[in-house]
Every structure is written in C-alpha cells, then in structure tokens.
C-alpha cells in the first residue's frame, strides 16, 4: 500500500462574512481558482500529474453550485485532463476532501491530488441550499433536529460549562490568534488575494481582535435563548432527547461561537513516488482518518467518537498525540473535547481557531490541517490530529506525522 504525503498547504485570509468583508466582492470560483493557481505557481506544478481536485463546499447553490470544483479547475488554467469533485460533509468538508484524496492515493488510485475547499458565506448564505434534515417532519420528529447553537448550549449544559468557561475559552482564542499573527506563524501559508490586475484585495485575517476580554464578551446577549425557550421552542425538542435536563442554559453568543467568514484553502497531496518524480519534498505523512455519526440532536460531539475510533484503530493513546486542532465551532465543543480526553489546553488550537479567525464552512477542515502542519514544523512536534464536529451529528478526524 502507498502512503499519502502533504507536499504543500495554503489558505486565503479569512475575511468577515458580511457585505463589508474584504472578500465579499470576490466570486467563489475565483477564490477557489486563486488557491489552485497559487499551488501551481509556487511549486511550479505540472498539473497533468493531478488525478483530481476534491473541493469541500457546504452551500452548493448559485455560484457555489454546479460542481464548483471543476469550474475552479477550468478557471485556474489547469490542464483540461484534471477533473473536479465538489463534496459536502458540512463543516468537515475540507478535511474530508483531504481524507478522500489520501485514501485514494493509499489505495493506488492516483498519484497526486489537490484537496481543499471554499465558502463564501457573505455571498452564499448558510442554509440557502435548504436541508431536509432541518425541515422535513418525516425526519425531524424522530431525529429531534435543533439548530447548532442549541446543540452547543446542550453540550455546555450537559457537561457543566458556565458562561464564564465559554467566554474564557473565546478570549484565549483571540489572544492566541493575535500572538500567531504577531509572530508571523501564518506567513508561509496565507496567500494574499489580488484582483485581476494584480492589485491586492486582502492579505490578513480580518475577524480576530487584539482587545477581546471577559468584560467585552460579557455584554453580549445569548444568541439562542429566544429560539430555544420561546418561538419555536427548540428546548422542548432537545429535552425529548435529554430528559434529565431541567432546562437548557443558553450561554453561547456571537463572541464564543465561530465567526462567519469568507475563505478558501488547498493542500497538495501525493504519493511518495510523486515526490520522487517531481523533486517536491514531503512535509507530513497522512497516517489515518476516521469519520463517524453521532447523536444528531447534541450534534457537535462527533470529534470524540471520531478520535476514539482513530486511536483505537491505530492502537494509540491520546497522550501519544502532540498537538491538536479541534475546530472551534463553539467554545463548548472544544471544552468538551478537552474534558472527554483530559487534554490540557496548551496542546490544542495553539494559534487560535474559528472563534477568533472565523469558520468558512467548506474550507475550514483543510485550513486547520494546514495550521496544524505549520505549527508541528515550527515547534517540532511529531504527531498532530485535526478534528471537526459536523452538522447532523457527525465527526471527522485526521492524524498526520511530520516527515
């Protein structure tokens, strides 16, 4: 069996996912193509070697519909022989793209892939592709669908995280992101985005704040209290699944939840022979990946069974992993991961995460794997694990080893 290696990893800056965000004027296909062009240019890549471009993208309608992956390949000027595959595993789409590519390489199906993703949340609003899982009564009555924010509040209630716990975590995310930018930790991976004339549009993440404190977060109102307790009353649905809870404490808000942003990322993955053929130097080996389904109501605890399955199948212990990226969808998701595995915070999300930097749904998976790799190289850590919680109750996890 072949091994799969990461040869390069890049991402765009993450810009506010609003009309005043820097990337709002950029199309999804251009930003995707920019990623492909950047990988090609900085590696002097012969694109005929690429077996497929696998592109994570959640809201596949409008400009993100119609197999955006292939559209991006065409716009990027890749050889016509390179196909494209758009995939959706919600928030883990970007990581799933990598896992699909790596596993195909391991199985001998293709030598090199580009995997990554994009989400222009300011242009194609989250949820605008519809979702039977949220709305079809034939399904929702049994599965007890609640929105993600309610799910995050269930986690915090069930596992005992207070508003202060959640806010403290969020403050730390901003602190770490600020520190990472100050020390240039993202400089090798973040690609400035230019217009068609070469004029720079954005070169730095927009969302994180250098002045976030418990006090500034303290004034924010809970985001999901009203839909939980009043109309339409999602807490009643939550309690159908969690009947031992008297009430759901609503403590998540805009400041301790991931930010809505625009962004894209891409990773060049290949076999060992691809490296030999091209002379590219592998940076990390993709050791293992897992994906798993979990209870759709609490929804966001998937990283735990995904990680457990991964550890079990590799015969490892949690202590063996040096560094973690656990997507900061909500504070409670990461706090629960730390609690479940008894992992200290100094091994997790050391350069901040989606709370400070934003969560461009389809791109985040490959972004955090790239961030993990950069940090492993910088701090010389051998084994790293990236994991994300996924809507509808799923989890994905990927383990990499520095070469």
């Amino acid at each position: 069996m072949s091994e799969a290696y990461i040869y390069d990893s890049i991402r765009s800056p993450r810009a506010k996912g609003k009309k005043d965000g820097a990337l709002h004027e950029v199309t999804a296909v251009k930003l995707s193509a920019d990623m492909l062009r950047a990988l090609k240019n900085r590696n002097n890549l012969d694109t005929t070697l690429i077996a497929d471009v696998i592109w994570g993208n959640v809201t596949q309608v409008g400009e993100q519909g119609g197999c955006l992956a292939r559209s991006a390949v065409l716009l990027a000027g890749y050889e016509i022989s390179v196909p494209g595959l758009s995939i959706n595993r919600f928030c883990a789409s970007g990581l799933e793209a990598i896992n699909l590519a790596a596993n195909q390489i391991k199985a001998g199906a293709g030598d090199a892939y580009i995997a990554g993703g994009v989400e222009m949340m300011s242009r194609v609003p989250m949820g605008s592709d519809g979702a039977a899982v949220a709305v079809d009564p034939d399904l929702t009555f049994g599965s007890c669908f609640v929105p993600q924010g309610i799910a995050a509040d269930i986690i915090a209630t069930e596992f005992g995280f207070s508003r202060q716990d959640l806010d403290l975590y969020a403050v730390e995310s901003h602190k770490r992101a600020t520190n990472a930018w100050k020390n240039g930790r993202f400089k090798n991976s973040v690609i400035p985005i230019n217009d068609q004339n070469g004029l720079m549009i954005v070169e730095k993440d927009e969302l994180f704040r250098t002045d976030t404190t418990l006090e500034t977060l303290g004034s924010l109102k809970p985001s999901f209290k009203d839909i939980g307790e009043n109309m339409p009353g999602f807490d009643n649905v939550a309690k159908l699944k969690y009947p031992h809870l008297e009430r759901i404490e609503h403590n998540h808000h805009a400041g301790n939840s991931s930010g809505i942003v625009d962004g894209a990322s891409a990773i060049l993955i290949g076999s060992k022979s691809f490296g030999e053929k091209t002379g590219f130097k592998p940076r990390a080996k993709i050791l293992h990946s897992e994906k798993v389904g979990s209870d759709p109501t609490i929804m966001l605890t998937g990283p735990i069974p995904a990680t457990n399955r991964l550890l079990k199948n590799r015969g490892m212990k949690i202590e063996d992993v040096d560094l973690f990226e656990v997507n900061e969808a909500f504070s409670a998701v990461v706090l629960r991961f730390m609690q479940a595995f008894d992992v200290e915070q100094d091994r997790i999300n050391v350069n901040g995460g989606a709370i400070a930097l934003g969560h461009p749904l389809g791109a985040t998976g490959s972004m955090i794997l790239g961030t993990l790799l950069d940090e492993m190289e910088r701090s010389n850590k051998g084994l790293g694990l990236a994991t994300l919680c996924v809507a509808s109750g799923m989890g994905s996890a990927t383990l990499i080893e520095l070469v």
């Binding site: 949820g127 605008s128 519809g130 949220a134 709305v135 079809d136 009564p137 034939d138 929702t140 009555f141 049994g142 007890c144 669908f145 609640v146 929105p147 839909i227 109309m231 339409p232 009353g233 999602f234 807490d235 009643n236 649905v237 309690k239 159908l240 009947p243 031992h244 809870l245 008297e246 009430r247």
Partner: protein, 729 residues
C-alpha cells in the same frame, strides 16, 4: 333516498342541500359521499348552468365525517385496509376537486360555474372541507355557527383536502390554529382567520349565495392554486421566506406534543410534502399520510375514547333508562369557594337559576364575584358578550339565607373537603328543602355512603365530583353511594348534560376512581425523588408519557402537607403492618422545610411572589442526591403509566369502575391521562398483556408490591385477550 337533495331553479342555479336521513345532524358516510359526487355530476351536466349552491336543510351544515363508520372500517377490514382507505379518500378528493373545478376544461375552454357554500350553523371536519372546495363561503350570523377542523383533537388530521387547501390559501402560520389546534371559530372569527368570506343574516343566507353567483366573475371561480404564478402565502418550505417558518413549525409541534401524536406528524408531513408538488399531487400525498395515520393502533384508540365513547357518555349511555328526564331549573349551591363559584358559573351559563349560599352574605357575594371574573375574561376574549354576562350574573342569587333554597330542585354541597363539615351542612340543608329534592356532594375523596348518612333520604343523595377549574374541566365523576337511587343518578346525569360536561358514573369507595389513580401517580413521582432519580427526569418523563403535568408539579398544586397528613394517618392506622415507603421521608422533609406547595409559593418547585412557577427546588438534590445510575426515560414513563393503569384495573376489578370505556374517557378528561393511547386501558392494550406482566414482575421485584399484576391481567393473558375485548366494541 339520498342525503343530498338536488334541485335547480328558474335562474339555472343548482342547489345541493345536505339532509342526512334519520339524523339530527349531517355526517358524511361512505354512501353519502357517493351521493354528493352524483349530485355534483348531475349539476355539471345541466344546460346553461349558472352556479351551484352547497347548503343544508338542517340547523347545522355538518358535524363532519361519521367517525363510527370510520372506526368500524378500521376495526373490521383486515389485510387490505390501506388499499381500501386510500381508494376511499381519493374518491372524496376527486369529488371535491370536481366541485372546485366546476366544469372548467382547458381544451374546450369551458369556464367554471361559480360554486358557493352556504353554511347555516356548525360545520366541522369534512363539512368544512366541502366548504373549502367551494369558490366562496358564506355563513349565517346565527350564534350556533362554529366553523373549523377539529380533527387533531380526536387523533386525526383534515384529510378531505382541508390540509392541502388551507396550507395553500393561508400558509403555514395562517393555518396553524385551524389545522394544528383544531379550533372552532364563530362566524366573525371564521371570517377574520380566512376560513369564510362573508357573514350574512341567517334569513338571507340563500339569497346572499345567489347574489354572489349572479355577480361572480370568471376570476372568482379560480382558486389561487389554479392560477398562474401561484405563490404559497408566507413562502414554501424551500423558499427563503418560508424555510425558517417550516423548520420552526416542525420543531414547535414536535416539542409541544412531545412527539406523541401521530396525527400531528402526519399533518405536518402532508403539509410540507404537499407544498413541494402541484396541487393534485398534494392531495394524493395528503391521502397517503391519512392512510398511514389510520393504520396506527393509537389512532384507533384515540377515536374510540375521545369521540365514540365520549359522545356515547354525553348522550347518556350511563343513564338509567326508565327514569323520566329531570332537567335542573333551580340549583342550590352551598359553599361559594372556588368550586362552588365554578359550579355556579357553568350552571348559570346553561340557563339554570342558581342560589349561591355561604356562611355570610359577603363570602357568597365574593363567590359571585369570581363568576363575574370568569365572565369578564370571556368578554375580554370575545367569547362572551356583555349582555350575556349581565344575564348570567342575574341568574345567580348570592346569599347566606338557606330559606332561598326552598324552590331548588337540586342541591350541590361544595364546602371544604371535611367530612364533619359536609355532614353538618347536609343536615342543615335538609331542614329547608323538600324530602324529594336530590342532594349532591361535590367531593373528590370522601365516601358518598358516609356523607349520605347525614341526609334524610340516602336514596336521594349522590356524589358529583367536579374537577378544578370547573369551567375548564370537561369531566364529572358521578358517584353512587350504597343507597343512592336511580332517580338521583339520573338527575345528576341530566344536570351534566345541561352544563355540557361529560359524565362517568362510578361506585363508591375512598377516592372513587379519579383520585384513586391520581394519588399513586403523584406518590410514584415522590418515591422516585426518595430513591435519587433526578427531579427533572421525573417531570420530563411524565410529560413524555403524555401527562399534562408532572407528579411533582401536581403535588405542588394539590398541597404537600395534605399528602403528608394522609401518609402519616395511614402509617398510624396500619401500625406494624405498614410497609415503609420511600415517599414518606420526602414528604416529611418538604413539610418540615415549609415546602407545602404552590399555596405558599414553595414546594418541589420555586415560585416567584406572584405564584409563577420557576425552577425545581435545587435542595431536593442535596437532600436526596441523584443516584449515579439514573433510570432511562422509558423506565420512568412506564412506571408512571403502569402505576395509574394498575390502579384503574383494580378499580374495575372492585366494580368501582363499572366499564373500562368510562375509565379511559374519565382518565383523559379528568386528569389528562395518556390521551394519545386513548387512556390507561388503551395504553395497556397497546402494550399487550405479555409486556405488562413482564413489567409488573420486574417492577414489583425492584420497586415494591404495588406493581404486582392484578388477577385480571393474568386472566386476559391466558385467554389471549385485550381489555377492550371485555366490552362489546
């Protein structure tokens, strides 16, 4: 012979007038739906037809589908029920669609004739659905007009096109109180919610219908969904405007119904899926979900208890047949507290003159004041007119003078629940009334045979257990003492009919039927607390079982010190024979800590100073720490259901409860006991004797002897029978 009378007048307007043979109110049967179809076809073949009027020869338009016919269809048809039911429902859809298109033909460019619905009185269910298929709906301004689709209240949903048409005409939000809540609307309310188009004077109903036909334009004969560019009001599920509404609707209904009611699920699915396809496909989808619903056993149980057996009791099934009708004309009520004033309200509303007596004139007046407050609330919510309020209050004479009782033909003693006090009052009353006057005691716990001893003639003494609040609770539990005569029982039943309550008749014993089952339910909840089950799990488990109120909330309402007194008295009475119970210490602890219930704003729950319930009292978990192994919610649900059901079985074995049908109707209406299953006996049958015996064995080993299966369950199991095999239906 036909239920739909057909005629055509000189103006070439065809009238299809509903007049069910031999019935006081029109209901649709399989045969009459074919007759309706034939009448529509006949009209549409007329030369030079100008329009069609759909009306009724009776005071009302229709009570809906004949559910007894539906029930027997569900019971009798075995293998191919689904196929037959689907075919039948689709026939009704085709009939009403024919009416709606009214001869329109695209190819020959034939226009529709205008079709108008003229409704003189009540219209429910399929009656209203026939109206919804018409182009225009006119109702009379008669106060008896009530229009709506109450199907969900008996475990069904509108599947005669009502769901599909309302979702398309009013949207998800606009139709929710009609479809989901099953509300019935007065004429003016029906107009304002969009169920009808026009309200006219009763005598002008048919003229107004003709007038509309004369003036109708071609546009008027098109339903919105038959026009180009039709848009769903408020948005369809996958339109940006509608998406969140539908996400929310699904969650709201699921949460509020605890996911227990398949009718609501089927309705929601028919509504959602129907809006994703063209109209005729939507009708077919509606029919498919209807068939699915009709094949679920709990649906049958709900119709049985909430319609068939409830109606039978209201029509007097339990009444002795050979006693002449004895409507109450003049009612004497002793005790103007909450119960007495509630009884005064419902009686005066039914046109009965009332004398409301209390120890002093001022307390009696205060009782009348409570009636005024209920009426005022009705006026505020436009359920009562100010004139009605005035005339109702005029029927109530509040006084402390027992001489005013002399013309009363029924006395209801409704003083505080204390045997001695009740006996004293009864003795006093007998001095002022004739020997033949019936005396009823409103009591929820004290044996009627004991109370009867204070009266002159025990034959004329009966128990009437009202539930609180009287003006909202539908059930009357009528209790026959050992010597209570048929005339007294009949009087109580005739009174029940007058005040539009549903009566069950039970034999005397401590706590009768209702409280005999409610008390163990409460105690089981308290016991769970005493064994470290999380209070929230107990309360949520009860709700997930379909109980309106958890046992801890309920004991807060009924008072914790009372429960403690009962428990202490029982302990003292039994002495060494007493089996210690986990609930004893809990009750004692609560009382010692001043947690007496809602009346002191402190019980298992915390309350604010206005008596609004807040959170569960956190100290419970300190005094009885949560056990590390919590039961699953199904165990909590089964324990709470079984403890009530077993007591209901024992009441039946002891002939306190004489008919399990009454047991189910009474349990649902009296204390909201498992309505989705059609009541406790319905629940037992859904579970099956095998499962029940297994649970009894398991629970009696773990939790105590109270879960030992009664003889009857073993007998039924041996005979491979269900509880409802014991009654002839």
């Amino acid at each position: 012979m036909t239920d739909f009378k057909y005629s055509i007048d000189d103006d070439r307007i065809a009238s299809i007038i509903w007049d069910s043979e031999g019935k006081s109110i029109n209901t649709l049967t399989l045969e009459s739906s074919v007759e309706l179809n034939n009448a529509i076809e006949r009209a549409l073949k007329e030369d030079n037809l100008k329009g069609i009027i759909i009306g009724s020869n009776k005071k009302d338009f229709s009570a809906g589908m004949d559910l007894i016919v539906l029930q027997s269809m569900m019971k009798e048809s075995k293998g191919n029920f689904s196929g037959l039911a689907f075919k039948t429902i689709m026939e009704i859809h085709r009939t009403l669609r024919k009416l709606e298109l009214a001869g329109r033909d695209k190819k020959s460019k034939k226009r529709s004739v205008p079709v108008v619905w003229a409704c003189p009185g009540l219209s429910a269910g399929i009656g209203t659905e026939i109206g919804l298929a018409c182009h225009y709906r006119i109702v009379s301004d008669d106060p008896r007009v009530k229009v709506g689709l109450p199907e969900t209240l008996v475990g069904l949903f509108p599947f005669g096109g009502g769901t599909t048409r309302l979702m398309r005409s009013l949207g998800a939000l606009g139709s929710s109180q009609i479809l989901l809540e099953g509300k019935m609307f007065s004429a003016s309310a029906a107009k304002s919610v969009g169920l009808v188009d026009e309200v006219v004077e009763a005598k002008n109903l048919i003229n107004a219908a003709k007038e509309w036909i004369f003036n109708a334009s071609e546009e008027d004969t098109y339903k919105p969904w038959d026009k180009a560019n039709f848009k769903v009001p408020g948005g369809a599920p996958y339109q940006p405007s509608g998406f969140l509404t539908f996400v929310g609707a699904s969650a709201m209904v699921n949460g509020r119904t605890q996911g227990l009611y398949p009718a609501h699920r089927a309705l929601m699915s028919a509504a959602y899926e129907g809006l994703l396809v063209p109209f005729e496909d939507a009708l077919r989808i509606e029919a498919r979900w209807a068939v699915k619903l009709l094949t679920i056993p709990s649906t049958y149980n709900m119709i049985r208890s909430l319609f068939v057996n409830k109606s039978a009791l209201e029509k007097g099934r339990a009444r002795p047949k050979d006693i002449a009708k004895q409507n109450v004309k003049f009612l004497g009520i002793i005790g103007a507290g909450m119960m007495g004033s509630g009884i005064a309200y419902v009686s005066a509303m039914a046109g009965i003159n009332v004398v409301l007596i209390d120890a002093s004139k001022s307390t009696a007046e205060a009782g009348k004041g409570k009636v005024g407050a209920i009426l005022q609330e009705g006026v505020k919510r436009r359920k009562t007119t100010p004139e009605e309020m005035k005339s109702v209050l005029a029927r109530i004479n509040a006084t402390d003078d027992y001489n005013e009782l002399k013309d009363a033909d029924l006395i209801i003693e409704a003083v505080f629940e204390n045997g001695q006090l009740k006996a004293d009052v009864t003795k006093k009353v007998t001095k002022y009334i004739s020997k033949t006057t019936i005396i009823a005691s409103n009591t929820s716990t004290i044996p009627i045979s004991d109370l009867a001893k204070a009266s002159i003639n025990e034959k004329n003494f009966v128990g009437i257990h009202f539930f609180s609040p009287v003006h909202k609770m539908q059930l009357l539990e009528i209790i026959k003492g050992e010597k209570t005569g048929d005339r007294a029982v009949s009087k109580a039943l005739d009174f029940a009919k007058q005040i539009r309550k549903t009566p069950i008749v039970v034999n005397d014993s401590r706590y009768f039927y209702a409280n005999r089952c409610i008390i163990p339910y409460i105690n089981e909840g308290v016991r769970m607390v005493g064994t470290g089950v999380k209070a929230a799990l107990i309360e949520n488990g009860a709700r997930q079982l379909g109980m309106p109120v958890g046992p801890l909330q309920l004991i807060d309402e009924t008072s914790i010190d009372l429960a403690n007194q009962i428990s202490t008295a029982t302990r003292n009475a039994l002495g060494k024979k007493y089996i210690p119970d986990e609930s004893d210490d809990v009750l004692k602890y609560m009382v010692e800590n001043g947690r007496l219930g809602r009346k002191v704003n402190a019980g298992f729950y915390n309350y604010d100073e206005n008596g609004n319930r807040l959170n569960l009292w956190p100290d419970i978990a300190s005094a009885w720490p949560n056990h590390p192994n919590q039961p699953d919610v199904d165990t909590v649900k089964n324990r709470l259901a079984l403890i009530q059901a077993l007591e209901a079985i024992r009441a039946f074995e002891e002939n306190v409860l004489m008919d399990i049908r009454d047991g189910d109707v009474g349990a649902i209406l009296g204390w909201g006991c498992i309505p989705w299953a059609g009541g406790p006996f319905g629940w037992l049958d859904l579970m099956g004797t095998e499962k029940i015996l297994e649970l009894c064995k398991q629970y009696s080993n773990i939790y105590g002897q109270r879960f030992i299966a009664p003889r009857l369950v073993h007998d039924l199991h041996k005979r491979q029978q269900k509880f409802y095999d014991l009654v002839a239906q």
